[in-house]
Amino acid sequence: MKHPDLTHSSAAPSPSRRAFLRGIPVLTAAIAAPAPALAASAGHHWAMLVDVRRCIGCQACTVSCMQENAVPEGSFRTVVSTYSVALEGERQPAGTYVLPRLCNHCDNPPCVPVCPVGATFKRADGVVLVNSERCVGCAYCVQACPYDARFINHDTNKADKCTFCAHRVDAGLLPACVETCVGGARVFGDLNDPDSELRRRLDAAAGQVKVLKPAQNTDPQVFYIGLDERFAGKVDGQATLWKPRAAHP
């Protein structure tokens, strides 16, 4: 089958349409994000709230993250862990529990002190990043992360992880996963801004807000509402049979 030459196709957007389309994410970000989230500067403390009750497990966040950050196939910076949970005293035998996972951008990050070359660091605005120019790919940080949030990127041979889409946040945009979340389960914002949606939602849900593996004392900056205690640490259950690396060597 002959493919049409899309480069010169009339279907290609005109410069003005292209400019308009390019501007849509900025527009949506401006509407969705609290005002202080539009630019990274001193005084911000970026964090995320995941309202598990709103997550529908569609994996739009997973896919958008891979697209935005060119994550190699078989690796993930974020994923919605999905579980089938047996129910007792209910009409149906089992229900589904979903749990979006990502780097927790801990305030006491165990990945930072172990890095032998100081390549992984925490920015003043709370984002934990990897300096890929310095990373030697020793994977010590991969071992030290209690959330299995880090991995070695086989395209770059360096440590990789969620960056809270720092390149987008610095440009005044929301992280890709937040932008595409269908149920509005992911809320990103500035903890230091009392008027931010994140701060308001956290304050409103005081007492219900939890973090993963609190006993590790990592002080995670990804907070959860609706987190079932059975899923807060290593899950005691039957493992999934599908192995991404085995499927996509």
Binding site: G137, A139, Q143
Partner: protein, 364 residues
């Protein structure tokens, strides 16, 4: 394992520290252990230890020169190894390790050179293979006791620091309960010494040394190391089972439900007991107990490194690892072994094995 929860979608994190890391920890452990075995005969001149210590020093050299190559290969950016020296990070044990390794290897090389100078000169005079090179390396073949003591002290400090950093590097990883136990560095040190005894026994046989008293001496050392390994293993288990230590209980709970881990634990304990009994009752079975001790040292590291990374930190169950055939797996192990053989051949050509294994010291 709870059957009430079935994971249907999750990430499988692959092994990030590859078999290269196992090879490194195995070889550097053997090197440090063999260096310790070299001290009674070479430095302290204890009677009956001369041949043992010279062979052990050869083992320390071969393993010590091979180990850093495996370590370098485990980096996913090996060309950036100089970053370790350009960006020293005192909070990281791995960063300290980058400085401890040259201290140890530098001390070891000088110590070995000083110890072997008379033998090199002897080989130079005998006119054997690479005799001229041996004579050149001997630089006259003089013995310098004070320099030897100084080099041994430097190498000893380096070996202690290497043993410390390799153990601590794993022990500080709180995210992996199996590694996060204070007994792990002790277990690594004991099995490294046992493996070094095993390797020395093999070299002794390879050298054609039939000195039964030296074999018995090494067998007795092996009895001591295996007793210590069993005692520490039992303490680990008791601390975990008795709930006396939350860290050990967590580590035990992580692996106890797994049939693979149960088999590995039984295998490790069985092999250690078998080595202990053979070394005790049949000390002449040098090659067999040597191989068993080496096997235990490798297996312990394989289980801790590869098995430890098969335990998900958040997901259910266990990840399954299959050894790849390429450089990231089997070829890496075979390649490291090949390098070991190459270095061994190189060194024993300049310094023949039978000359090292002669019972008395050179008169020069």
């Amino acid at each position: 394992m709870s059957t009430a929860i079935v994971e249907t979608i999750n990430v499988t994190r692959e092994i990030a520290w590859l078999p290269w890391a196992v090879s490194y920890f195995f070889l550097i452990g053997l090197s440090c252990g063999a260096f310790l075995l070299s001290l009674p005969g070479v430095l302290l001149q204890r009677p009956g230890w001369e041949a043992i210590s010279r062979l052990a020093l050869l083992a320390a050299l071969v393993c010590g020169l091979t180990a850093p190559v495996a370590l370098l290969a485990d980096l996913h950016q090996p060309g950036r190894f100089w970053h370790f020296y350009a960006y020293f990070t005192p909070s990281s044990w791995m960063s300290w390790g980058a400085f401890f390794i040259p201290v140890y290897l530098g001390g070891l090389l000088v110590y070995a050179w000083l110890a072997f100078r008379p033998l090199l000169a002897e080989h130079g005079r005998s006119g054997g293979r690479l005799a001229r090179l041996a004579a050149l390396l001997a630089c006259g073949g003089l013995e310098s006791r004070r320099a030897l003591i100084g080099a041994a002290a430097l190498a000893f400090a380096g070996a202690a620091l290497v043993a410390l950093y390799t153990g601590a590097e794993l022990m500080v990883v709180r995210a992996r309960p199996l590694w996060h136990t204070p007994l792990l560095p002790v277990q690594l040190a004991i099995t490294a010494l046992a493996g070094a005894v095993g390797l020395t026994l093999l070299l002794k046989r390879l050298a054609g040394d039939a000195d039964a008293s030296a074999t018995a001496r090494l067998a007795r050392t092996l009895v001591a190391t295996q007793c210590a390994a069993l005692a520490v293993g039992a303490l680990w288990l008791l601390l975990g089972l008795g709930g006396l230590s939350a860290v050990h209980a967590e580590a035990l709970a992580e692996v106890a439900p797994s049939a693979n881990w149960q088999l590995a634990a039984l295998w490790a304990a069985g092999a250690t007991v078998a080595t202990l009994l053979l070394a005790w009752k049949r000390p002449a079975s040098g090659v067999l107990i040597g191989l068993l001790a080496l096997h235990s040292a490798w297996m312990m590291r394989w289980s801790i490194f590869i098995g430890g990374q098969e335990v998900p930190k958040t997901g259910a169950g266990y990840y399954s690892y299959q050894l790849p055939l390429g450089p990231e797996g089997l070829m890496g192990i075979v390649g490291t072994a090949g390098l070991w053989v190459f270095v061994f051949i190189l060194l024993t050509t300049v310094l023949p094995l039978d000359r090292l294994a002669t019972r008395t010291r050179s008169s020069h």
